[in-house]
């Protein structure tokens, strides 16, 4: 008898506060499993953002620091420059990374900072109740775009992976999704590759994970998966944008 799946040692016993069906849970699991499989849990320091995953410091079974909104990459830089041999990651949502934190994420890529960022993109602000995010789609409703986002007022949604992939220091850039077992397996593979990129000291690594927000999208968890596939994937194509040793 073999155990095919069980709770990862990379997660603490604390039950998460995330909404039912929130893909944060899946993504936390993947990061935890990767760190466990790479046998680096005891050498890892994670940085939690401000957003729904602000309490991530209670869920990952490693040393954690809570950063202010958008600044997790800078906090991670401070940690990594003091402990270059440790594994350091930031875990950020789309408001944290693509709105207030754009300078910080661009500059860790710019510096080729040897940290790994997990970017959870669900095209909305979760914790604060559903406001528009830089990644909210055209026509998508949000509490600060009640008639739906328009190009005229707010511009086109921001494609972070494509943008960061133009920066040389970003050694590994991939966009994945967690809407199905097949995509979740690919997401885990990308996350593992991203952490390996850090361990091999190749540069900055980021995995953008298309995610759901059933509560603020106003959909059931299962319908949210479908909405992600039908709406987010066409605008935010999945795939690898940069990998060490590959010139694109």
């Amino acid at each position: 008898m073999a155990i095919v799946a069980q709770k990862s040692k990379g997660l603490t016993d604390k039950e998460t506060h995330y909404c039912p069906g929130c893909t944060h849970g899946i993504i936390h699991k993947l990061v935890a499993e990767v760190l466990e499989e790479l046998d680096v849990l005891g050498e890892t320091i994670g940085v939690a953002p401000v957003g729904c995953s602000v309490l991530a410091y209670d869920y990952f079974n490693c040393d954690m620091q809570e950063a202010s909104h958008g600044r997790a990459p800078a906090v991670a830089t401070g940690i990594k420059r003091v402990h270059p041999e440790k594994v350091v990651f930031s875990y950020q949502g789309d408001g944290d990374l693509a709105s207030i934190g754009t300078a910080e994420i661009v500059h860790v890529a710019h510096r080729g900072e040897k940290i790994t960022t997990i970017f959870v993109n669900n095209a909305i602000y979760g914790m604060t109740g559903g406001q528009m995010a830089p990644t909210t789609l055209i026509g998508q409703r949000a509490t600060t775009a009640p008639l739906g986002r328009t190009v005229e007022h707010s511009g086109m949604p921001l494609r972070v992976s494509e943008m960061l992939a133009t920066i040389d220091g970003a050694a590994f850039v991939e966009r994945v999704s967690v809407d199905s077992p097949a995509n979740i397996r690919k997401a885990k593979k990308a996350i593992k590759e991203a952490f390996q990129c850090q361990i091999d000291r190749r540069g900055f690594s980021i995995v953008e994970v298309l995610s759901t927000c059933p509560t603020n999208w106003g959909l059931t968890p299962i319908d949210s998966l479908k909405w992600l596939v039908d709406n987010l994937i066409p605008y935010y194509p999945l795939g690898n944008f940069r990998r060490p040793g590959e010139d694109k």
């Binding site: 155990i3 979740i184 397996r185």
Partner: protein, 71 residues
Amino acid sequence: MAKGKVIFNEDICKGCGLCTTNCPVKIVTMDTTKINIKGFHPATVIEMDKCIGCGNCAIMCPDSVITVERF
């Protein structure tokens, strides 16, 4: 003869239903006959002998509710 077995930690299930979406033998359901300590209908499997131990349900679960064994 079952190839696999799933164990649900019922009390931590949030009733989201994601585990029911990708079972190849369609045996994962939400147990509408009961509610757990959180007030949700927990996920369950009634026809365990059909389980192939693929792990899809556990992969989808955001809360690590499911342990999957394969024989």
